[in-house]
Every structure is written in structure tokens, then in C-alpha cells.
């Protein structure tokens, strides 16, 4: 019946992976500005819609 140990450690492992991802996200400064990205992500579509020829410019965001 030791399968429960396996299952538990797996589930905790998954949880810990997400937790570490969160820590790294904070460390990279993703939580410093919570407004601009929400605007930025809407730009690409508008550019493409109005000027199809400028597709190559669609790399707008400059996330480090």
C-alpha cells in the first residue's frame, strides 16, 4: 500500500515545481509592474489588422 507515498510525493513535487516557478517569476520582476503588460499584449493584433504589410514588425514586446 506504499503507493500512497508515491502519489503524495508526486503531488507535492508538482506543487513545489509551481511554487519555484512563482519564486522565479517574482525574482525576475514580473510582479513589479502589473499594468503595462496587460496593455502591451493587445498591441500586436491591432498592428496586424491595420497594416498587414508590417507583419514582420510584430515582435513588439521586449521582455528580457
Amino acid at each position: 500500500m506504499s503507493v500512497i507515498y508515491l502519489l503524495l510525493s508526486l503531488s507535492i513535487l508538482v506543487a513545489v515545481i509551481f511554487f519555484v516557478a512563482f519564486i522565479f517569476a517574482v525574482k525576475n520582476g514580473q510582479y513589479d509592474d502589473s499594468y503595462t503588460p496587460s496593455v502591451r499584449m493587445l498591441f500586436e493584433d491591432e498592428l496586424v489588422k491595420e497594416k498587414p504589410k508590417t507583419l514582420k514588425k510584430s515582435k513588439l514586446t521586449n521582455q528580457e
Partner: protein, 795 residues
Amino acid sequence: MESSTCFHCGDLSDSSTIFYDDKTFCCQGCKTVYEIFSENDLTCYYDLQSAPGSTPKDIQGKYDFLTQQNIIDKLVEFDDGKSQIATLYIPQIHCSSCIWILENLNKLNKNISSSQVDFGKKTVRLQFNSQNYSLKEAVILLSSIGYEPYISLEDFSTGKSQVNRSLIYKLGIAGFAFGNVMFLSFPEYFEVKEFWLEQYKPFFRWLMFAFSLPVVFYSSQDYFISAYKGLRAKVLNIDVPIALGIIVLFLRSTWDIVFDLGSGFFDSLTGLLFFLLLGKFFQQRTYSFLSFERDYKSYFPIAITKISKAGQEQPIQVYDIKKGDRLLIRNEELIPVDGVLIKGRAKIDYSFVTGESDPVTKVSGDKIFAGGRQTSGSIEMEALKSVEQSYLTQLWGNDVFNNVKEDGFTTLTNLISKRFTIVILSIAFISTAFWLFVDSSKALNVFTSVLIIACPCAIALAAPFTLGNILRIFGKHKFYLKNATVIEQLAAINTIIFDKTGTITSNKQSTATYEGDVLSPSEALLLKNTLRGSNHPLSRTLYDLLEENDIIMLDQFEEHVGQGIQGVHLKDSIKIGSANFVGKTNETAALNTSVHISSNDAYKGKYTFYNSYRKGLSQLFNQLKKNYDLAILSGDNEGEMENLKKLLPARTKLLFNQKPDDKLEYIKHHQSEGAKVLMIGDGLNDAGALAQSNVGIALSENVNVFSPACDAILDAERFNSLSDFINLSKSAIKIVKWAFVLSFMYNVVGLSFAITGRLEPVVAAILMPLSSISIVVFTTITTNLAARKLKKNEK
């Protein structure tokens, strides 16, 4: 198309409209920006938002100091020889078009490899190739498209600031642990006697123990530190019972699982911390684009032009200015040190320093003081003092700027917590003593249960959520507070002191009355047309006030510097200017600014200028006079006294000719008599008074422009709502008190379980989140209801 709006900046464009590419522009500058954008395929800028731009200003020579290595080193964050990264503060950032254009700078110049906007902080982070491009060129590029960066002395002294993200980490860890512990303790809630669950109980419990470790030893750090500090200062603050609760929760739970007495209270422990930190996080979110800690450094330029002995111009860092240096002050530049005027016509606007609204004319040899802004052409001056020793900057040597206001103020929560802690501790000891006689085996259980259930989670949450929500509501109505404590202090004030110039008067408008002989239609026509040619501020004001007239071509127009203007049309001539200039010599010195007029050398009369007061001023004063003592402190002369007396309630005190430290002393004097003072001002001259008062509000026509150090910034257009803001603060305090009552009721229920020795982990696990969530719901609903009045009055 007489009055259409500018395609670029949205301003009304009048007769000087420029047509280009089927679009109208108000000036050459706006057209140029449009040209730059259209050449580079960036006209999408105008699709995202209509008329998003701002007019570029003339910056000739202004950024020459950016070639100096020591200044560049301070501004650049990263430099590897090939590329540099710099973050620039741009106050004009205001819409999505701004973000878009600033993040597409690389299309305007190939050397800029990336640019990223932080909308909240109004900054742009530039990465550029430093071999082919310089910071100066980048700044000039930004200025040319109407996004001039603001670089001040503050940037030089602060250097790079470190962002503190520990609260997010702590909150994340607490939330992570809370979720997992809840999962693991779920089976035990239902008391299912299932074989396998019974088998693995110890394993589940020790896992919960492991999850709670980082919560106790990392997430709750702040509470232990604050409680320790409080105890050392002999204050029972709210963190004392919280820290006690956390320790007892952890020890009791560990004890329980070690001796197999129960599942422990790990779920309540982690949940408690999660909710508490959430409250803290909620309250901490303020306005990152506003700074409430400004001193003269954020007004002063980082560098100025020095003229060397050989007559060459070179940029010099402001701190390096020595006595005897010759400095060049360009138009619209700030004078950084006290000195003597050597060359040029100085017209200095001291409104920052004294509150006096009219520019002062100085001639060569006169002393000029730091903080004044030169308003006509460039001048040369010799420095007499260094920056720190100048008259204006000395004000910051006053002690009030080193005191932290919050230190002297006991918040409502801490006031309550003192009594609360004493009551809880007595209940704990009495009930323990009782059980020692009745059933000594239960005594320890009861003691810990009382401390656990009484842990004032709900009380600690009441103020952060109420005040945090009010803070956001105020923000929506353009009243920005430094922190939540300001609300509590605002609710306690009983005296309100106003500055005059720029606070109760509007900077934008003034009114003028005419005294003397009536002007004939032809004279009025000539007057208006002569004024058209002049750029003097008084001419502009008078021009705007006069009725619309036909435009005629003058045969002759002369501007006599510092005296007046003269216009000739056909046979008629008109002189407009000072009394001497128009030929009236026996004019007595008047307190108000006036402009005299003579037609064909015969004196006609004069226009006298008055301040124009904000709309609804007397209404606001009448609302406020019922509950508060009102006073006006002005740096100006007494010219407006009669006017103000008519406008304001009779008991308002009026004081004129107040220097910055007079204002400070006046407030200090009233405070020593027990007054709680609210000061409302706008300029640097009020900085001392704003710092000394219990609540200092800086009024601002444009919140993105700078205001002195203060507790709150109020947008000038909401000046009339001041009374509503104060009333809402008072309601907020009432709401907090009701929330306290609500959480006491939860405590009474919880304590009845605890004292009787029947506190099960599941009861604690239900009561703790239930009380917290209901407090959050209660405060959110009631604050929004209370704010409805504010919304109604807006319309």
C-alpha cells in the same frame, strides 16, 4: 475650420492652424512629431487613442550635461562598453499610445535595441548601443517626439534603488502552505474512520508540520519583529497578540502530533498568516508614479552651464558649483544657487519659493536667490553660495523634515489592541486557574485554546481592508494619499489652513477691472491689436480678457523692455505699460498689479489685475466653517484682503506676507494649543508647513508635475470635494469600529468553545477564515456605500 482640435495633441488650434496631410495641427512642433511618425510607419500611434501627443518643447543646449561622464555613470544602470541601459522618468506617459510609441523607439533609431515602459511608474527602460549612440542623443530623440524625460538632482543622489519584494514572497509561501495543509487536513475534518486513512494519519500530520515551518519562520517574521519592538517600547500593539497566537498555535500543534493527541491547528495557522499578509498587501499598494517624499532635489536641475574664465560654456554638476563661479541660466531654467546677476534682463518667477505670483524684474548687480525660474531670455550670474547653503535649501535643515509623522500617531487598531491584549490574557489565566481546580489535565489545553482562538486576525484585518479600499476610492476621485494612516489623521483634524496663491486661486485665470475714461471703439480696437504683438504675460492675460475685435495691421509696433508697448495705426497711437511709461508720474504705489493706457499721449485709465478664485470656493468654506477653524496664509501682499473678506465666512483668519518658516511656526503654534492641523498648499514655499501639519495636502493642477513633500496630493479640479473627502474619512473610522464589534462577536463565540475546553481543530479552522472573510466583505460593502455620496456630488 476656425476652431478645430490638433490631430497630435488635441489642443484647440486657433488662427495659427497648420494644415498638413489633410490634418490640422496647432503648432509647428506637433506637425513635426507627426512627420517623424509618418515617415517611420508609426502612425498607429494615432489609431490607438485620438490626439495622444504632447507638444515638444525647445531644448536647445538643455541636455549638454549628459556628455559628462560622472553624470552618465549615475544615470546608467548597466554598461558593458558596447551597450548601456538607462531608466528615464517621463511624466507625459498617460495612455496606451504612449506605451506603444515608446516601445517602438527602435524604429526611430536603429541604435536603440529595446525599450520597455513601466506605466505605473511612468518610466521607460532603454537599452542602446553605446558605441554609436549616447544617452544625450536618446534624450533628445525622446524630447523631439514630445516625451521629454525629467532628470533632476534627485537622480544624482539616490542612485539605483532596490525593489523590496519580500512581502510577495511571504504571501506566496503562506498561500502555498495554506492550500496544501488544507488538503492534508481534509480527511480528519470528517472523522471518517477509514482504515487506510487511520494508517497514514501520522504521515499526513508530519507533512503539515513541514509545510508550516517556512510559514512560521519566514512569512511571520514581520509580526515577531514588530511585536518585539512594541514590547521594548512598552507598547502593546496589535502584533503582540498576533505573535503570541502564532507561537502558541505552532507549539500546541506540534505537541498534539508528537503525543498523538489530535491533528493540530496547522490549517488555522497557515490560513491566519495568509489572510493577514493579504491584508498587508492590499494596504501597501499605493501610487508608484507619485512621490510623497520630494524635497528641493527633485525640483533642481542635475547640471547647469558654467562659463569658464576663457568665456567657454561647459556643463557643471550642480553640487560642484563653488562661490565665484559664473553661470549661464537659460530661459525657463531654475536658478540653483544664491548669487548676483551680472548680465542680461532677469525676470524671475519666485512662485516656488514665496508663493508670490508675479515675476520679479532684476537688473545687473541685484541679488538673486536659488529656486527662482528665469522667464525671459538667458542671464549670467555669479554664485555667492553653494547649493546646500542657499536660502531656499536651508529650509530643509529644519527638524520637521527628519521626523516621521506616523511615529507620533497611535492608530485605532493599536489603541484597541492594548485593551484587547490585556483582556485576553486575563481570560486565559482566569480560565486556566479555574480548570486547575476542576480538572487539571485540561488546564493547559484551555490556556492554549484561548490564545489560539483569540488571535486577533479579524481585528488586524478590519483597518487594512477598510482604509485600503477608501484609499483606492480616493484615488479614483483624484485624491492620492501617501498611506492609510493619513485617513485616520484626516478624520481627526479640527483646523484647516489654506495657502493662497495657486491653492485657493487658480493659476490659469485672473480677472482685471478697468478704471478711468471709457475707451472709444477705435481705441479698443487698437488696444487689442497692440496687445496681440506682445508676449509679455500681462499682455497675454489682458488680450484673452478683452472682447473679440477685428484684426488690423499696425503701422508701427515697439516693445520697450520692462516698461510697456506702443502701437501706431494711421493717426492714432496707443501706449500700454507702467505708469511712468504712459506719462502718468504721480501714481501712488498700489498693491495690485496694474497696466496703464494712454491714447495719443492722453492718459486714459488702467486695468487692475485680481486673482481669480477657484469656483465654489465660498461654498466650500461655508461647508467647512461649521466644524473647523479656517485660516489663510499667503506669501503675497495684502492687495487681495478686501476681496477675500467679501468671499469667505467672517471668522476666517487671513494672514499675509508669510515667509516659508513663518507658515511653519504658525502651524507649530496652533498645534501646541492642541489643534490638529490640515494644511493645503501647492508650492515649495509651503513645504515646511506641509511637513509640520498633521496632514499636509499638496494641491496640483497636474498630478504628474511635481508637488512638495506631503501626505496627500489632490487634483485641483476636485478641490471643491475637500469637505466630502474629510467626511468620508470620518465614515471610514466608523466602519473600522463596527468591524471591530463584529470581530469581537466572533471572539466571544470562539472563546466559549475555548474556555469550556471543547475547541476542536475543525472549529478553529472554520471560525478563523469565516471571521476574516466576513470582515473583508463587511468593510468592502460598507466603504463602497459610504463612497456613494462622493460620486453623487461629482455630477
